[in-house]
Amino acid sequence: MEKQIAGKTISVNEEGFMTDFSQWDKAVGEALAAENNLQLTPRHWEVIEYIQKEYKNDVPLSIRKIGKSGVVDIKEFYELFPVAPLKTATKIAGIPKPVSCI
């Protein structure tokens, strides 16, 4: 389905995750963050850029992996994204949430 945000049209799935990363930009990220009651700081952006890079390299994301990334530790990750941090961070980053096979 399509959605209007930050003056753009983006494609999203039933849960609001973007389905076409090429439509993502920082303004979209900020608007998605606002929908999740978050105001993005430079620390948020470092995390978002890290997970986008990992996603592009087909690396499966986990909280532990983010904790070991050297970008942020797990405690700070929870402070930055307090509710379901990985799901929220991937949503703002414009990439799919981590999934299993079914």
Partner: protein, 411 residues
């Protein structure tokens, strides 16, 4: 004489030994396969062992039963891979020089990765079923357990056979019903993901199973520790889930050999081209199965499909031709839902599991993403297929390494 060495005589290594012995002339190529163990486990059986549906002897056979003659079995422990020297060092001090190396060393559980998991309650009230010993210990526990809070838990992804913990929950529901004690047991499924089902079609089609079987879900749970005294698992956000019996899938890691050789990612999985299955370490090194970091399920069916692709690519590589065979991430898995029923799922890198017919489009006889008795019989029959067809690299009729889109309902 050229030398091809396979590390690991599990599902992937054994299938590759069988494929390549048929494809490479014994006078031109020596093929060796190395493993410190002498037993081959039918790993899908680990799911049934705790419930007494399989006996230990049903799922274990000697490794050498499946190694073709004219393949050398090196019954010893590999300690280090030396890509530059094109050799592998073994614990007995010997080095084996190879022209081509296949890494098939699989994945192991690493409960020590989570604080308290391998603590005083390990195999008392905290169990795994991803190892033979763990599944056996859990069988003995379940035989006398009087009920309480059963928590089925996934530590982190990726794990081998991602549906197994869900199947375990379903089978546990049936098991306690049959023992007339379901009312004494609560079942909670705890996952680091957003739910028990994460793909849209599977969620829409299968979510009813959780309700029907009265299984509670704790999603988005990133475990920080197992508290052995309070008997709770705690996540990084401070959330606690109490248990009387914790059945966890610990962190899955690649083999210690990969870690010691410095060839893996942070979970010791080997960086591998997801299409050709050539390693990203060195052109002479190929990788198959759970040992890779390719973004599909770690599962026996994946290994079976990868083996056909990898055989073709290794033959091309030997002849300095392009490696044209491309692995598509194909997986095909029976999913036990309890009560003598199962589902079948068929998917790849690009397509999520959907409804349809398998393996013959429009006919079946198996139905995708639908629970029924015939799928369960298929899962049981698969043990025979594994020992007699799959490990020996014989073709399975109608089942191709590439996922077929025909017979699937995508919209």
């Amino acid at each position: 004489m050229k030398r091809l060495l396979i590390l690991g005589a599990g599902t992937g290594g054994t299938i590759m030994a069988n494929h390549l012995r048929k494809a490479l002339k014994p006078g031109e190529w020596e093929i060796a396969i190395a493993d410190a163990r002498d037993k081959h486990y039918y790993q899908p059986g680990f799911l049934f062992l705790p419930f007494g549906q399989y006996a230990p002897e049903d799922i274990v056979k000697p490794i050498t039963d499946f190694i073709p003659k004219d393949v050398v079995f090196l019954h010893k422990e590999a300690q280090k891979i030396n890509p530059a020297a094109k050799s592998v060092s073994f614990a007995d001090g010997e080095d084996y020089a190879y022209d081509i190396l296949i890494i098939a060393t699989g994945t192991e559980i690493a409960p020590e990765e989570v604080a308290g998991m391998a603590g005083p309650e390990w195999r008392k009230s905290v169990f795994d079923f991803y190892s033979f010993e763990g599944a056996l210990a859990l069988r003995d526990k379940l035989a006398t357990w009087e009920g309480g809070r059963l928590v089925v838990h996934i530590t982190e992804m990726p794990i081998k056979c991602p549906v197994a913990p869900l199947e375990f929950s379903f089978l546990a529901d049936s098991f306690f019903k049959e023992k007339n004690m379901r009312d004494k047991v609560s079942i909670t499924y705890v996952t680091p993901l957003s739910g028990a089902f994460t793909k849209p079609k599977a969620t829409a089609t299968l979510e009813y199973l959780l309700k029907e079987k009265n299984i509670a879900i704790e999603p988005d749970f990133a475990i920080e520790s197992v508290d052995n005294e309070k008997k709770v698992i705690r996540d990084y956000g401070g959330r606690e889930v109490p248990f009387d019996l914790l059945v966890t899938v610990p962190t899955n890691k690649g083999s210690e050999l990969i870690e010691n050789s410095g060839l893996g990612d942070d979970l010791a999985f080997v960086p591998t081209d997801k299409s050709t299955l050539q390693s990203k370490i060195h052109p002479d090194i190929f990788v198959i199965g759970d040992a890779t970091n390719v973004p599909t399920s770690k599962a026996g069916s994946v290994v079976h499909f990868e083996a056909e692709i990898l055989t073709e690519n290794i033959l091309n590589y030997i002849q300095s031709k392009d490696m044209k065979a491309a692995f598509d991430g194909h997986a095909n898995c029976f999913v036990e839902t309890g009560g003598g029923k199962a589902l079948l799922i068929d998917f790849n890198y690009d397509h999520e599991p959907v409804e349809g017919t398998f393996p013959i489009p429009g006919i079946g006889p198996l139905r995708l993403l639908k629970e029924n008795r015939i799928n369960h019989l298929g899962k049981l029959a698969f043990r025979w297929i594994y020992w007699n067809i799959l490990l020996k690299a014989r073709p399975i009729p109608f089942v191709t390494p590439e996922m077929q889109t025909a017979g699937k309902n995508f919209n």
